[in-house]
Structure formats: structure tokens, C-alpha cells
């Protein structure tokens, strides 16, 4: 039986125009924000900042070297961190209690102490072990443990402890049915991890890992305390000589912002790559 047609007794609104909500609050907020930014810009423009110094030192050779060092140290420390993180996460999730214990101990030790302390320990390793190696094949620790190597080890090994937890969270996010299906087609645990679990875990892992990557760009500045010549160290060296403290700090800040601005879209590209097959996409 068709429903009784109520429309006959209601006003005919079929031809009326729809008017969307006016977001007055948003316009007000934009106005306030623009005013604040203008005020801030003016303050910096008339403040005690010699902007032409910022321009002059922006691409100074020492700053360029620092930029180069910051970049490769970020990549190197993250590569080491991710490698150690994956190994540690796999150990932590293994059925072998010895491997589990080692993984937990590593995470505990390196998450439990400040990075700057770890950097100083690596840099001063010669105080504990004057020589490294065995008998004939040994070298003086001070010759080997350069600021760069100490920074790489300190930052990378510390990062591995954090990354392992990110990777582990990603592995835990994959349904146990996936492990079972992988086993059912004759895969061993490691092959299942590589072919089935990790590709799916990547989706979950990339956003926090991108976060860690961006964190590492800035964490490299801590290596300035052990004389590693990254951007901040270069900027400091210059302002020790010419006293343009704020100008050179602004130079360093702008470079950090540029690096991070380039990394963010890269992360989005990676996320899209690993979203294959997810939730009816494409």
C-alpha cells in the first residue's frame, strides 16, 4: 500500500535556494590572526636585528658545511636507528626469551638516559678504553672516536630504542589472522614478517616515524656540544667571532624550517605508497 502523500498539505519548497552556514567566527579569527602576525612582523622589522646579516650569512661556506653535516647526520642516525629498531622489535616479538630480554634491556638502557649524556659518553670513550681492538690490530680511541662518529653512534643507538617501540606498535597493529594465513602457506616467521607483516605495519609506522625523522633533524643540534660541525655549531662559531647572535640563530632556524618543510611532503608520498589496498582506495 503506498504511503499517504503528505506533501500535498505541506508548503512547496522544492525550488528554494539552499544557503550554507555563514562561519562568522572563522572570519573573526582570521582577522585577529592577521593582526597578530602583522604586529609580530613589525616588531621583528624594527627590532635590534640586522636583516642584511641574516642574508649575508645565510649561504656562508661554514653554514653550508653545517647544513651538509646536519643532513647526512640525520640520515645516518635515522638509518642506524631504524635498523636497530627493526632488529630490536623483531627480537622483542620473538618467542625466544633470551632475545626478548636483550631487546628489553637495550630499550631500557637507552631510553633511560639523556641523549646529551650518551653523546658525551661516546665522545669520551677514550677515558674508559684508551685503545680499541686486539693486540697488534688496535688503534687509539681518540683517533677513531671523532665528533662525527660519536654523534652517529650516540644519536643512532638512542633512536633505535625509540624506533623499536614504533615498529613494535606497527607489528601489533596487524591482525593475528595474517600471521596464521602466512604460516598456512608455509612461511617461516621471518619470511612472514618481511612479506606480510612489515608491509602492512608500514602504514601505521610511517606517521610516527616521520615524526621521529623530523625530531632527529633538530636532535643533531645536540651534537654541537661534542664539537660536531652541524648548522647550529657553525652558526655559534660565527657569532662567537662577530657577535651577531640573533642574526645567526635566525639563519640556523630558517634552515631547520626549510629541511622540515621538505620532509613533510615526502612523508605524505610514502604514506600513499603504503596505503595500497587499504579501505577501498582506488
Amino acid at each position: 500500500m503506498p504511503a499517504p502523500n503528505a506533501a500535498a498539505s505541506l508548503p512547496d519548497i522544492a525550488h528554494y535556494t539552499h544557503v550554507p552556514n555563514r562561519h562568522w567566527g572563522r572570519w573573526l579569527a582570521v582577522a585577529i590572526i592577521i593582526l597578530l602576525i602583522a604586529g609580530l612582523a613589525r616588531a621583528f622589522a624594527v627590532g635590534q636585528i640586522e636583516w642584511d646579516f641574516v642574508g649575508r650569512f645565510f649561504t656562508a661556506p661554514a653554514i653550508m658545511t653545517g647544513l651538509y653535516n646536519t643532513l647526512w647526520m640525520t640520515l645516518g642516525a635515522m638509518a642506524l636507528g631504524i635498523t636497530l629498531g627493526v632488529i630490536t622489535a623483531v627480537m622483542r616479538m620473538s618467542p625466544n626469551p633470551v632475545l626478548q630480554g636483550v631487546a628489553m634491556g637495550y630499550t631500557w638502557l637507552f631510553r633511560g638516559t639523556p641523549v646529551i649524556l650518551q653523546l658525551l659518553l661516546w665522545f669520551n670513550l677514550a677515558l674508559i678504553f684508551p685503545r680499541l681492538g686486539f693486540g697488534e690490530f688496535s688503534v687509539r680511541t681518540v683517533d677513531v672516536m671523532t665528533p662525527a662518529l660519536a654523534a652517529l653512534l650516540g644519536l643512532g643507538i638512542n633512536q633505535g630504542a625509540y624506533t623499536s617501540e614504533v615498529i613494535r606498535a606497527g607489528m601489533l597493529s596487524v591482525d593475528t589472522g595474517q600471521y596464521e594465513a602466512a604460516k598456512a602457506i608455509g612461511m617461516t616467521r621471518l619470511r612472514a614478517l618481511r612479506r606480510i607483516i612489515f608491509p602492512q605495519a608500514m602504514r601505521v609506522v610511517i606517521p610516527p616515524l616521520g615524526n621521529e625523522f623530523i625530531g632527529m633533524v633538530k636532535l643533531t643540534s645536540l651534537a654541537s656540544v661534542i664539537q660536531f660541525a652541524e648548522i647550529l655549531h657553525a652558526a655559534q662559531n660565527i657569532y662567537y667571532a662577530n657577535s651577531r647572535v640573533i642574526e645567526l640563530l635566525i639563519v640556523a632556524a630558517i634552515w631547520y624550517l626549510i629541511i622540515v618543510s621538505i620532509l613533510t611532503p615526502l612523508q605524505m608520498l610514502l604514506e600513499r605508497r603504503f596505503a595500497r589496498g587499504a579501505g577501498g582506495a582506488r
Binding site: G177, Q178, K183, A184, R191, R276, G277
Partner: protein, 264 residues
């Protein structure tokens, strides 16, 4: 593989389950189950949830390790190597190799979501069995056609219906050329209108002579396809026999109660 771990296949059923016991904590999932499955036989296991039927199935391909007893598949003792009077646990690689003789279809499909239907099917043949990729692709396409999904090779699981996903899962298991197929409630997670297409694929497989152990609630399928029906309750086999007898003329009161509950 030591000599004593294998038996001449002619004298053995394809699957021999001997007094298998399994406890999860205090819960006795399997309380001494013995069961033989001949090559080419289609066996349906029915029973209420918690009766141990899924656990038994998962023991056969070692997704669950048994506490005691023995399971022989294709003449080979699963999970253990016999050495004199001792049983040594097999290393993971050997267990993985033994699983190759069985294919498994899961209740929740468990397709790999980051791979297309075709990639799901060739994953085992190419990565595990190290077979030629082009040949594996040809076989996968034939398998997809066999389950009626020739046009879905490039689809990701998320873009397939439950019934289509389960049929891809059947093709994925068949791609390993198993001697035995295990089905763990393959239609329980499906919308009612999709059950038929999966059962049709399973019927076709049964008709082709595949040995199948099917844990199911589909009594109609059991009646039509099964050579033998096994009813389990509280971790034990309570009644078994030809489908028509077990389902048509149940002897055990527990089975009668179960059947009337399922059919009502």
C-alpha cells in the same frame, strides 16, 4: 627426515589423528580425539562453539601445538621427529615444510590486504615454493577462473565482497597444490546471500576428488557433500558416520539437541 617418521602411504589414511589432547589453561579443548581421514574423503565436523572442532582443525596444520597424542599427515608425523623412543620437536623450517601438504581456508578469509587477488595467490608458490613466476601467474589465473573470479585478478581484497574474498582464499590455498584442504567455518562470516557462491566452489572442489576437512554450521552442505559427518562436544567426538545417518537419524541425545537447535 629419519626413516621411522614416515610410513608407507598405502597402509595409512591421509590424516591419522591419534588420541590428541589440548588444554588452553584449565580449559580442555581436546580431550583425546582419534580420527582417520582417507584420501579423497570429504569430512564435515559439526558441533556447538567451544566443542573443540576448530582447535582440532588447527592442530592438523600445526597452528595449534598439541599437548599429547599424534597427528600423521600424508604418512608423516607432524611436529615431531622420532628418534628411538624420543620425540624431538621439529625446527620451524620443517614445520613450515610440513604445512605445505595442507591448505587452509579461514573463517575471516585472512587475505593479504596489501596484495591484489592474483598476488595473494602467487605469493606462496613464488616466495615459498620458489616456482617460476610466469607459470605461477598462469596457474593463479586458471584458479581464479575456477572459482568464478577471472575478472578480479587485479582487485585488492578491500574491493571484493566477502564471498569473493573467500573464493580468492580458496584459490590461494589450492595454488600450493595441497593434498588436504582444511576449512574453518568458511561461510560463518558471510552475509547470507554470499554463502551459496562459496559453498558452490567447495562442492566443485569436493567433486574433483580433493580431501577436505570442513568445520561448518552448514548442515545442508554437510548432508549433500560430506562422505562422513563428525559431531563433537566438549572436546570429544560424540557421534560419527555417513551424513545421512548422523544428520537424519542421530543417536546421541546431545546431537539431537544440537541438530534441533540448529535447524529451528
Amino acid at each position: 627426515m629419519s626413516q621411522s617418521s614416515t610410513m608407507p602411504p598405502a597402509t595409512m589414511p591421509l590424516v591419522a589423528i591419534v588420541d590428541v589432547r589440548k588444554k588452553f589453561g584449565d580449559f580442555e579443548a581436546l580431550a583425546g580425539v582419534s580420527l582417520d581421514v582417507r584420501a579423497g574423503e570429504v569430512l564435515c565436523i559439526i558441533g556447538a562453539s567451544g566443542s573443540g572442532k576448530t582447535t582440532l582443525l588447527r592442530c592438523v596444520n600445526q597452528l595449534v601445538t598439541i599437548d599429547s597424542g599424534a597427528i600423521w599427515v600424508d604418512g608423516e608425523l607432524t611436529g615431531w621427529r622420532i628418534d628411538g623412543t624420543k620425540l624431538h620437536a621439529l625446527p620451524e623450517k620443517e614445520v613450515a615444510r610440513q604445512r605445505l601438504s595442507t591448505g587452509m581456508v579461514f573463517q575471516r578469509f585472512n587475505l593479504f590486504p596489501h596484495m591484489t587477488a592474483l598476488e595473494n595467490i602467487i605469493e606462496g608458490p613464488v616466495q615459498v615454493q620458489k616456482r617460476n613466476r610466469a607459470e605461477a601467474v598462469r596457474e593463479a589465473e586458471a584458479l581464479l577462473a575456477r572459482v568464478g573470479l577471472a575478472d578480479k585478478a587485479g582487485s585488492y581484497p578491500a574491493n571484493l565482497s566477502g564471498g569473493q574474498q573467500q573464493r580468492v582464499a580458496i584459490a590461494r590455498a589450492l595454488a600450493m597444490k595441497p593434498k588436504l584442504m582444511l576449512f574453518d567455518e568458511p561461510t560463518s562470516a558471510l552475509d547470507p546471500e554470499l554463502v551459496g557462491e562459496v559453498l558452490a566452489a567447495m562442492k566443485e572442489l569436493a567433486a574433483s576428488g580433493m580431501t577436505m576437512i570442513v568445520v561448518t554450521h552448514e548442515l545442508g552442505f554437510a548432508r549433500e557433500v560430506a562422505d562422513r559427518v563428525v559431531y563433537m562436544d566438549r572436546g570429544a567426538i560424540v557421534e560419527q558416520g555417513p551424513a545421512a545417518e548422523v544428520l537424519g537419524n542421530p543417536q546421541e541425545p546431545r546431537l539431537r539437541a544440537f541438530l534441533s537447535a540448529v535447524l529451528s
